[in-house]
Each structure stands twice: as C-alpha cells, then as structure tokens.
Symmetry: C2
C-alpha cells in the first residue's frame, strides 16, 4: 500500500467520527448615525450578484469563536469602533452539491459612533432604509438575518443599557432617544423618555453642560454611559404603530 493510499484510507476511515461541518460566522453590525440605523455591508463579489450588498461572513478556523469575530470585524475589516459582539443564534444547513454540512452562527455587533471612518476600513455602513427601499440590493437571506438581529437588538435595549454604546462618548438625552427611536422604528415621548432615563440610577452619568443651546435656548446636558448594565423594570417598548 502506498503512502498516499494509507493516508487516504486514514482520512476516509476517520470521517464518520471526525469533522463534517464547516462553521461560518455571519455578522449584523449596527451603527446609528444621526437618525439612521445602519448595517455594515460588503460588496457581494460574485456574479450574478455583482453590485449587490452582502453581510460580512467569516469561516471559522483554528481560533475561538468570539476572538475570531472580534479580530475579523476590528482588524480584517478595520472597524475601530466595535463595542459589542454577541451570539444571536446558530442554524444548520447544507452546501449545494456538497456533502459538507454547515453550521452558521449569527452574531450581533454594535459599532460606536466615531467622527470619521479610518482609511483602513473595508465595507461601509448602509442605512436600513436604503436596503428596504431596494436602493441597495441584498439577498433575501441577508435581509432576513438583519430582521432577526434588529428584533434581538430591540429586546436588548429594553432589558439593558447597551443603547448608550450606540451614542458618541458624550451625548445628550436627545441623542440617546434617537437611538431608541431608530432601533424600535417608532417616535418616543420626550418627557417620558427623560423621566425613565434620569429616574434609573446608573443608566447615564452627568458630565457637563453642552456649549450649544437647545431649541428652548437652554444649554443641553451631556451624559456618558453609567455603571448600570441590566434594566429592571425593563424599558417599555411602545406597541407597533400601524
């Protein structure tokens, strides 16, 4: 038996108790800028999808799941402001015309708001409105993943203070409110919102008065993220408007 023959037989023999899965990480990385909820997209390279947008995806290799996720987004795609990465769900599937099974892990990422993207950034943050209106074409699968991730994020900002990470380092309550409004896609009452935030110890921390004045001619107050993580009671999300 040749060396190759032995090696092949070893490989074939190992298969039933060996590796049969390819594991991929799919990323929905959200960013809020001004009044837009945006998602990190890459150009979908292959014909017939040239010109389309796609979600970032990375095959899992020798590194761990979470470290691969961080490294891919921060270093390979050059997103400097990744502040949160969390598993949403995993699902299995098969490749067309291949015996290889696939396990895909959907991850939620949050990118903070930074003044300007660095040069080394690949991909771009595309407003969800552009995707839903068909301006940026994207596969049904990717659009479905964005819906799942947005629903996950909607619950997350109900139960935690993570929305503050989608603000600049120092922010007004108006800025924080617009994050909630963008993610939930619904307007919120300003007075109720202020009462909820300021009435929850540790949600935000007062920093200083802003230099700019607000519409009422008073200087806005600037805040930063507080020490609180989980909200209890959770933030009441308004019912969907029809």
């Amino acid at each position: 038996m040749s060396q190759f023959e032995q090696l092949y037989l070893d490989t074939a023999f190992l298969e039933p108790s060996g590796a049969n899965f390819e594991v991929n990480l799919e990323f929905v990385v959200f960013q809020v800028s001004k009044r837009d909820l945006k998602v990190l997209t890459l150009p979908a390279g292959h014909s017939p999808f040239e010109g389309d947008l796609s979600l970032p995806m990375r095959r899992l290799g020798m590194e761990g799941l979470n470290s691969t996720g961080h490294t891919y987004i921060s270093q390979e795609l050059g997103i400097d402001s990744l502040v949160h990465l969390e598993q949403i769900t995993a699902y299995t599937g098969s490749k067309k015309n291949s015996p290889v099974r696939q396990l895909n892990m959907l991850l939620l990422g949050l990118a903070g708001r930074i003044p300007k993207a660095t040069r080394r950034q690949r991909g771009s943050f595309t407003p969800l409105t552009e995707i839903s209106s068909g301006l940026g074409s994207m596969s049904t699968h990717d659009q479905h993943m964005i819906l799942l991730a947005r629903e996950f994020l909607s619950s997350l900002i109900q139960n935690t203070t993570v929305a503050t990470l989608l603000c600049p380092e120092q922010f007004t309550l108006g800025t924080l409110r617009r994050v909630y409004e963008c993610v939930w896609d619904t307007p919120l009452d300003n007075a109720n919102f202020r009462r909820k935030i300021l009435g929850t110890d540790g949600f935000v921390e007062f920093v200083s008065k802003a230099k700019q004045q607000n519409k009422q001619g008073r200087p806005s107050h600037l805040y930063k993220s507080g020490s609180l993580d989980k909200l209890n009671p959770s933030f009441q999300r308004p019912p969907f408007s029809t």
Copy 2:
C-alpha cells in the same frame, strides 16, 4: 498517479474550504419536582469515570440543530415531557491529539412534571444538591455548564412566564412559587408573589378550586399557564442571600 493518490490529493486540497469541525450539542435539561431542581444525567460510561454522572451530549449529523436536539431528548432518551429547548451559547475547542476542531452548543431544556417516568426513559433526573454535595460525581466541565444554564434559566423566568411549564398542568400558586424558589435558590414572600402573579394579566389562568384544603382550611385555587409570554416589567429577583 494512483487512484488513491488522486483521491488523497483531492481531499487534502479541499480541506481549506471543506469541513473541519465536529459539532456537538450539550444538554442541561431541568425538571423541578416538589422542592428540588433536578438535571437530566446519564452514567458517564468510560473508565476512569465509571460510576460518575454526565450531561447528555449528542454529535450533530445530517439533521438540523433544533430537530436533532428535540429528537435526541424526546425519542432517543425517552423524555416524554420536554416542553422547551433553547440555545444558550456556543464555544469552540479542540480534541486532544486531533486536528479536528470542535464547536459545542449548550442547550437549555425544560421537562414538565409528569406523574411517572415511562419505561423507555434513559438517564435520570438528579437533584442539583446531590451533585454540589459530591454525592453524584460529575466533571468540572459539566458542573460549569449546569451553572451557566441555571443562570440563564434564572434570567429567563424573570423575563418570561416559562416557569409555569415546570409545574404540573394544573398547579397552585404555591407550586409555582416553589419553582421560582428552586431555580433562584432563595425563599420568596408568599403575599408579594401572589400579588405579582395575579396582578399580571395572562400569567396564569384560573381553572378550579382544588379538592384538598390548604393550611388555612380553605381550598387552594388551581391554575394553568396563561397566554402571556414575556413579562414587562420583569419579575424582581431578590438579591442573593449571604
């Protein structure tokens, strides 16, 4: 080049874009009976762990992740009362002395309370107190997974009505309270508990008065699960007692 040589080269060449993972599902299936939180265990078969307990674990094959989980627990292990199965988290690792990478998915299962286990049931529900006291020996890894799953369940019953699934089909509020007490490992005030449950529309639904009388000589009321899923505001979990 021989046929085997070609096959081996094909295999080797495919590897970088082929399967390199073995995917395993690990299960922490909880059941509450009377005043005990229990977890589904199997005998750890292999020497030197003979006599030890282990968590159920199943390698993922051609079937999907969730259907494999349900089939394994319900049919292969014969647990008739599985009422809930949910992904907790996934993590990666390597096998000793093997190039095969592993992705393990930890799943939370809940088993309802049934009068008697059927004959076809494999494994048994072991009280957590037996494991923590060292009566039932278990690997550090499995004990860690149980801790993770219990913490996950603790949050879940804060934010959802899923605790009712751990009761018999019809139950008193005392029974439901003992589920919360078991999972959180802390006593709860009876009057506050009743107020919270009965004050939340759809948490439970009144069925009838029980035949037995309670300590005060009044018949207990029997309830079943209501239509509500998520709790808002969430159920306040008491701080850990020291």
